[in-house]
Symmetry: C2
Subunit: 341 residues, 2 copies
């Protein structure tokens, strides 16, 4: 059962919602990392919001997600605003939602400092940070851990390491290890960023990398429907509609995310490897057939390895990004989080 | 019927094969280009090899292919060596094989000069060059035009413009226009190369772009089978097996291809658009289900638009590169080129 929330630090963030809290926790004097090395006095930024006495569900997304999962006052400020909130698919009237800024990311948790080396991070390290946060918040046991993309990897790592601290998982578009084709796309992205950074142009490298990443997140079907028009001629050069779209997204991203964080968490995805057979809690595995990064076959294999899995196969033109968009399809899957444990 | 070959220029190339010829033809004083602009005194490098009195089949491949389709003396020097040659799937004892270096490419045909602007090229421009070459060689009519990838686009453009100059087409992994997802991958590649070139590092940009392109040419299935091992640690950094593979291919490519040619012909693919309904000759359309660049649906749609099409659907772990590898599956499709016209 969840114990009462007694956050020891608050920053006023989310203050419009009674009993919601947020803060930045110093996790430990030193956090030993799964792949070697350590973080000294690592900080973890967190946020808890939803019905005050409701059970707690952790909700983690892609590497660019952050602790503001939803925000009643400013809906678009939440990264999962189309899916999570009062009365939405993951209903914050039924559960309190716990979010974090990832270690290594561009939020208020400890992350890379430009020009300084930063160790490789594992999904196990993020899981360890969540575990320490639960101790701090005196949450004995999560009602659920919902993770999509990188967040799903962290959910699996958490449940393998701390199975008594969570009742059930919902894992969307994440497997026990990454597919070599997805690693292919990401290693090219990281090499682009490192190449550009070596020339003092990291932001432009991140723009290119994000444009590439966007293509992997979506589907041929979506692009065919939206971007089939002929190219425009701009100052004598052809520019294709899909090109304008991808690079607009790339520029936007490069303006709000740090290249060092991108390198760190992109690598963390590719290093992810957990032992699914050692996860005893029930796991709802959500697979999107059109996902180019996490093939359906890999999630079928994950479900087969997990001792207690249910597999949900969805179709979505949004591909890997379906978790951000397919609120209707996800709603029944989240119902399992609301009942009495 | 094919007329006798009377090449006006020879360079001794392929001289070990009787009645084979090759040369570099000046196409015209000026070639007006489909997208505007012109090429002054453009040169087209060509090569014709096979049984001397056999009917002529043009064979064009991807943007990096060249006029040496096969080579009896040095088999690996031919870009299509696993498929074309004496007794092979496309049998040079049954047909003479005509190849070209693409306009805009890195061979001996006219292409971009570093630091100088070069106009956008269309698949129609390549078709026009082939037409002029046929005039020069006094080939009234090709027995067939076999094109894969970009070569398939050129084959379609040729048959739309000059339907009396070819009896039939075999078009492998090419459609009447490109898919926006494929354009997405390629625009990112071109932006990488242009970014790197703007910093004086074009070759490194080409290496990155080619690594990305390789991932699009292949399939998740192949990568899963070959590159599932954990990463190695090299000088403190993780390097993934697929990463080593892609960047070895990228470095190799950057050493033998010019970035300006890559930009030109990559763009030419994305500008490709022909009117399939206006191609009256029989076309064997060969689709590979696993091709990430040319979706099966697009080739089904092409076959539906062509007045006289047969559609062959293959499965191959090699994806877009299947035309280089699937000699056995292609053999029966090439049979239609051998009979009496």
């Amino acid at each position: 059962m969840d114990q009462a929330l007694k956050p020891s630090t608050r920053d006023g963030d989310g203050g419009s919602q009674a009993h919601a809290g947020s803060g930045v926790l110093t996790l430990a004097r030193s956090l030993s990392l799964h792949h070697g090395g350590e973080l000294i006095e690592p900080r973890l930024a967190w946020r808890l919001a939803g019905r005050p006495d409701a059970p707690v569900v952790a909700a983690l997304g892609g590497i660019s997600a952050h602790r503001r999962v939803f925000d009643v006052a400013q809906p678009r400020a939440g990264w999962w605003w189309e899916v999570v909130g009062p009365g939405l698919s993951l209903d914050s009237e039924q559960v309190r939602v716990l979010g974090i800024d990832y270690l290594g990311g561009s939020g208020e948790s400890t992350g890379p400092i430009p020009g300084q080396p930063f160790p490789s991070l594992s999904s196990y390290d993020q899981a360890e940070a969540v575990r320490a946060l639960l101790d701090h918040l005196r949450i004995e046991r999560l009602r659920g851990f919902v993770g999509a993309s990188y967040g799903g990897m962290v959910a699996l790592a958490f449940a393998e390491r701390y199975p008594t601290r969570v009742e059930r998982l919902v894992v969307i578009s994440a497997a026990d290890r990454t597919h070599p084709m997805a690693t292919a796309w990401r290693t090219v992205q990281r090499r682009i960023v490192r190449f550009a950074a070596s020339l003092g142009r990291a932001s432009e490298g991140l723009e290119l990398a994000r444009a590439l990443a966007m293509a992997t997140y979506r589907t041929p079907g979506e692009f065919a429907a939206r971007f089939g028009q002929p190219p425009r001629r701009v100052e004598g050069a052809y520019v294709f509609p899909i090109e304008e779209y991808l690079f607009a997204r790339g520029r936007d991203y490069a303006g709000r995310y740090r290249s060092e964080s991108f390198l760190c968490l992109s690598e963390s995805i590719d290093l992810h490897a957990v032992d699914a057979a050692r996860i005893p809690v029930p796991v709802a595995v959500v697979a999107v057939r059109e996902d180019q990064l996490v093939p359906l076959e890999d999630l079928r294999a994950l479900a087969a390895k997990l001792p207690r899995a249910t597999l949900h196969e969805l179709s979505s033109v949004h591909g890997h990004d379906a978790f951000l968009k397919e609120a209707h399809a996800l709603r029944p899957i989240f119902q399992s989080l609301y009942g009495v444990a």
